[in-house]
């Protein structure tokens, strides 16, 4: 099946205001974004489409924002953070504000985490307030005592 | 002059005790006999609300005390060393160790008789050690 990022995006929320002039639309309360197996749940979504069709930037904030997706159809990836920016063009998620991301037995916590959906490349930094990056690898269950 | 009969064992507020030791330990048998004579019930296993005594080791060693002019050993000192734990309910195990001494003359001309004397002294040392353990228990609050 073709990858999630090429799927259509569906957004639902309790209410929505769109200002065509500034190309900004805002959704609030129980916002849900779906794209194939990717789902993001947040309190507020602001879509900035100024860069034109296909280059929109989805900025979601929440307490926290929750993200989940199935990689290659079966490997679950979940994450949450105070703010998640989804840049359609570079197919990259940027999580900031005690961000946390878990994927097949490894878990990363940091101030800022960048996650490229296409290359599955994760990079984490400690950001300004020097919050350290913590990564925990749990071996496959065959060795668990 | 202020002497009064010894009251019963303070352990009397713990009517039962568990005595743990290596199999067939003679000292453990004597301590248990002494305890049951003082109407303390002997438990068969460690219990949370009752004290227990763990006899760790009892060893007998011999040290030379004096020599004959020929250099032969005239007198030996028998050193009987006992170490044990007293575990009061809800408290850390308290380690105790003491040594008892007896001197004893060896005589190569009567080796078997002297070996019998050694067995007798060992059983007397064990009686003394059992009494001492009971005395130390008696002073535990």
């Amino acid at each position: 099946s073709n990858p999630d990022y090429s799927q259509p995006i569906a957004i639902t929320s309790d209410n929505n205001e769109t200002s065509i002039k500034e190309n900004i639309s805002v959704y609030t309360q129980n916002v849900e974004i779906r794209q194939g197996s990717l789902t993001i749940k947040a309190d507020r979504l602001e879509i900035n489409a100024t860069a034109g069709k296909g280059n929109e930037v989805f900025i979601t904030t929440g307490n926290p924002v929750r993200y989940s997706q199935l990689l290659d159809g079966d490997i679950p990836v979940t994450a949450n953070a105070a703010e998640i920016r989804y840049d359609l063009a570079s197919r990259t998620l940027t999580l900031s504000g005690n961000a946390q991301l878990s994927q097949s037995g490894s878990q990363v916590q940091a101030a800022v985490i960048r996650y490229n959906l296409e290359s599955q490349q994760i990079s984490a930094e400690s950001g300004e307030q020097q919050k350290r990056v913590t990564t925990i690898f749990t071996p496959e269950n065959k060795e668990n005592p | 002059c202020g002497f009064h009969l010894r009251g019963n064992l303070p352990l009397s507020q713990f009517p039962a005790i568990y005595v743990q030791s290596e199999a067939h330990s003679e000292l453990a048998k004597l301590v248990s006999k002494r305890l049951s004579q003082n109407n303390v019930q002997l438990l068969s296993s460690m219990q949370a609300d009752a004290p227990s005594i763990q006899l760790v080791s009892d060893t007998l060693e011999r040290r030379t005390l004096s020599l004959f002019p020929s250099g032969q050993v005239a007198e030996y000192e028998l050193i009987y060393k006992v170490s044990y734990y007293v575990i009061m309910p809800g408290a850390e195990p308290a380690f105790n160790q003491f040594e008892l001494y007896r001197d004893y003359q060896d005589d190569p001309n009567q080796a078997l008789a002297k070996a019998r004397e050694l067995d007798l002294l060992l059983s007397e040392l064990r009686q003394q050690a059992a009494n001492r353990i009971i005395r130390q228990l008696a002073r535990l609050e």
Binding site: S106 | G2, Q37, R62, R63, R102, D103
Partner: protein, 732 residues
């Protein structure tokens, strides 16, 4: 008391997180300034990286972790900690699957004990550390007093031993000794036997060098082989095989010297064999063996051994099978002796069977029955009665009444003994069959009185324990019974209340006597026994029948004994103890000993001791001893001990030793002159003085391997005859 040089080792700085690590947690936790992960490929971490896996911690500027290979890589200035080790090195890699770390260019240091060094590569896994192209020393960081360089060092903390291959031992970087293979203790797990190389010299053996090799054969078997070179005698091989399984445990020791150059050639090889073994076949069947044999009588005095005292005069041999039943304890025992020197041969008990009641059997109300029965076959070719069978039965009825305050017991027993005696001399005038039956009545009572007294303002306890015993045993004529395991017992305070004055039942002394005695004890506020005084006396209600029995001739007709004992712990540092035994009838002192001890601060002690015995095997013994240890300067310690035979006005054992102890090594020089046992004399002409033997021993020891390797003050003082402790095999 901590030795003065304890400040050798600065406390090791350890990250606090180490204490909270859980060895069972097999996750890999990495904290860093930044992290880059891509799916299953290698993850990169940068910025003072800290990696925790089980109970190990790694810090590095950067690190890589490959998930599918489960391997960590790090380089630059890394530091690695596990439960026993701290390592700083250039590069590091670890396989987290089977928790093994490989470190290059490693400077390592033990956490719990002295020991540090360097290794080109260090492999660390739980319980085992392997270093190659390595250096090991226990000296502090900037001290190169000694170091062990080896192509390969293995340390197994679990076993308590380490081994090194192609080891070069250097003192201040000067190579001193090359050994293809060397073993050494790493912690205090091994307690017995020689642990470290020893250099000594003595008149007996000349220059001596011993080096132990530890071989761990299996999980519960180990073997220590110790070649011992003696310039005057040759090279002896000592071996000690130890085994400990749930059912069987024991030690087998074999020592072998092919030919002794200091002895006539026809003496042949000299050996010692010692076995002490115990088996618990089932919950109530137990067997044990204690056996020692030497090639010649002078072996022990000339070559010595870890298992017997140089002045032992006989080798004890026993094999026993015991059954501990619900109601009956039974035991079959074979007992014999190898006598060293020309003393009369001893009777052997081959076998002796003993049955006794395991628990008193209640009869009616509070009366209980105890019984014991024994059969023994004694043999002794050089005795008049060369073999004898003895059957003994002794039932006892007892009425015990015990409370903490008052103890009372009334006993009545019947003693029946039957002897069959014969001699290999046909004209021997001995009685073939003898029977002896006699009753015994004993009444015993003891009172426990206490009172509080004030010990420097603190409540403390004084006890007063009077005891009284009445004993009745009728007279029986017994001198036609041989003496197999019977000799006169020594009457000290404890003996006053015995029911038989002899060690065995071949003689049962007549008695119609009252024994009165009392003990008073003072305890301090923390229940240490400060002072104990006991006094006791036997009163004969009627004079014992005079007997012409060879054994009892030295028992005077109205021999009533007064014995007293005094133990007094005088002040915090001074200890005084004395015991004496006085015979009122004969108005003479039978035996006394006294010792005055001063224990100062660390490593300072002084003792003055005196012993007197009126007759030990007919000889008067009076002995004076002075011993002391005092630190003379930083790291220097002086020890001295001197024992004098006052009766014969001569010195019997004198040691003077000086010891220099630095952080990681110690050297001790001890000059010793002591009397050497002269086995050619029998005890009756013991007056023939043994010769004095002098020796000078230089003991050089590497410290920090487990305990102080025998360098504590008390170990030093136990150099002489009187310090040695011989352990007994206690089996129940």
């Amino acid at each position: 008391s901590e030795p003065v040089i304890q400040m050798c080792y600065q406390p090791l700085t350890q990250p606090a997180v180490l204490k909270s690590l859980d060895p069972a947690n097999n996750t890999v936790q990495i904290s860093s300034d930044s992290a880059d992960l891509s799916g299953n490929q290698t993850a990169l971490f940068n910025g003072n990286v800290e990696i925790i896996h089980r109970d190990t911690l790694l810090t590095a500027p950067s690190a890589r972790f490959s998930r599918n290979e489960q391997r960590i890589f790090a380089d630059g200035g890394i530091e690695y900690f596990d439960s026993s080790l701290k390592v700083s090195a250039r590069e590091f890699s670890a396989d987290t699957l089977n928790s093994q770390a490989q470190i290059g260019g490693a400077h390592y240091q033990f956490i719990a004990q002295a020991g540090r060094g360097y290794a080109d590569t260090l492999l660390a896994s739980p319980q085992r550390i392997n270093l190659n192209q390595a250096l090991f020393t226990t000296c502090p960081l900037d001290d190169n007093s000694w170091a062990l360089h080896a192509s390969d060092i293995n340390i197994n903390a679990g076993e308590g031993w380490g081994s090194a291959r192609h080891a070069v031992f250097k003192i201040r970087d000067i190579p001193v000794l090359y050994l293809p293979y060397l073993t050494f203790p790493v912690n205090e797990q091994r307690k017995t036997g020689l642990l470290l190389p020893k250099v000594a010299s003595s008149q007996l053996s000349g220059l001596e060098f011993e080096l132990p090799y530890y071989i761990n054969l299996a999980e519960n078997y180990d073997l220590t082989l110790t070649p011992r070179y003696m310039s005057k005698r040759g090279t002896q091989l000592k071996s000690e095989f130890r085994y400990l399984t749930p059912a069987h445990q024991g030690i087998l020791q074999l020592e072998y010297l092919n030919s002794d150059n200091d002895k006539p050639a026809d003496l042949g090889s000299r050996y010692l064999g010692h076995l002490s073994h115990r088996s618990d076949f089932t919950a109530n069947w137990r067997g044990y063996i204690d056996f020692t044999d030497v090639s010649d009588d002078a072996y022990l005095t000339e070559l010595g051994s870890d298992y017997t005292n140089q002045s032992d005069t006989q080798l004890y041999r026993e094999a026993t099978l015991a059954h501990y039943g619900e109601r009956v304890n039974s035991q079959i025992r074979l007992q014999g002796f190898e006598i060293l020197g020309n003393f009369t041969d001893a009777y052997k008990a081959l076998p002796e069977v003993r049955l006794s009641s395991a628990r008193p059997m209640p009869i009616i109300s509070a009366v209980e029955l105890d019984w014991q029965a024994s059969y023994a076959h004694f043999s002794n070719d050089s005795a008049l009665i060369s073999s004898a069978n003895r059957l003994h039965l002794e039932p006892t009825l007892r009425l015990p009444f015990v409370t903490p305050a008052l103890e009372f017991s009334a006993e009545a027993s019947m003693l029946y003994t039957y002897y069959q005696q014969d001699s290999n001399l046909d004209a021997a005038d001995i009685t073939a069959n003898v029977q002896r039956a006699l009753p015994k009545i004993r009444l015993y009572s003891r009172l426990n009185l206490e009172r509080e007294y004030d010990w420097f303002g603190e409540p403390a306890l004084q006890t007063f324990e009077p005891q009284i015993q009445y004993l009745y045993i009728p007279y029986r004529q017994q001198n036609q019974i041989g003496l197999y395991d019977t000799t006169r017992l020594q009457d000290d305070y404890y003996g006053l209340f015995r029911q038989n004055r002899f060690s065995g039942i071949d003689r049962i002394n007549e008695a119609n006597q009252l024994t009165v005695g009392w003990t008073t004890r003072f305890y301090d506020n923390v229940d240490n026994e400060l002072f104990r005084f006991s006094l006791g006396q036997i009163f004969f209600l009627e004079d014992p029948t005079t007997t012409a029995d060879n054994l009892t001739d030295n028992l005077t007709a109205t021999d009533s004994m007064l014995a007293s004992e005094l133990i007094w712990h005088w002040y915090r540092r001074w200890y005084f103890s004395a015991a004496s035994q006085y015979d009122i009838e004969g108005k003479q002192l039978i035996k006394s000993n006294a010792s005055l001890d001063y224990r100062g601060s660390e490593n300072t002690l002084l003792q003055l001791n005196h012993r007197y015995s009126r007759a030990v095997s007919g000889l008067e013994i009076q002995q004076l001893g002075v011993l002391g240890a005092v630190p003379v300067a930083k790291n220097w310690q002086l020890i001295a001990s001197y024992y004098r035979d006052v009766t014969n006005h001569r010195m019997i054992d004198a040691n003077v030793g000086v010891q220099y102890e630095s952080c990681c090594w110690a050297v001790r020089l001890v000059a010793r002159r002591h009397i050497r046992v002269n086995l050619d004399t029998s005890i009756d002409n013991a007056l023939q003085f043994g010769e004095l033997d002098s020796s000078l021993s230089l003991q050089f020891v590497l410290k920090g391997f487990g305990d102080k390797a025998g360098f504590g003050v008390s170990d030093m003082l136990s150099n002489g005859i009187f310090g040695y402790r011989r352990p007994y095999l206690l089996t129940n």
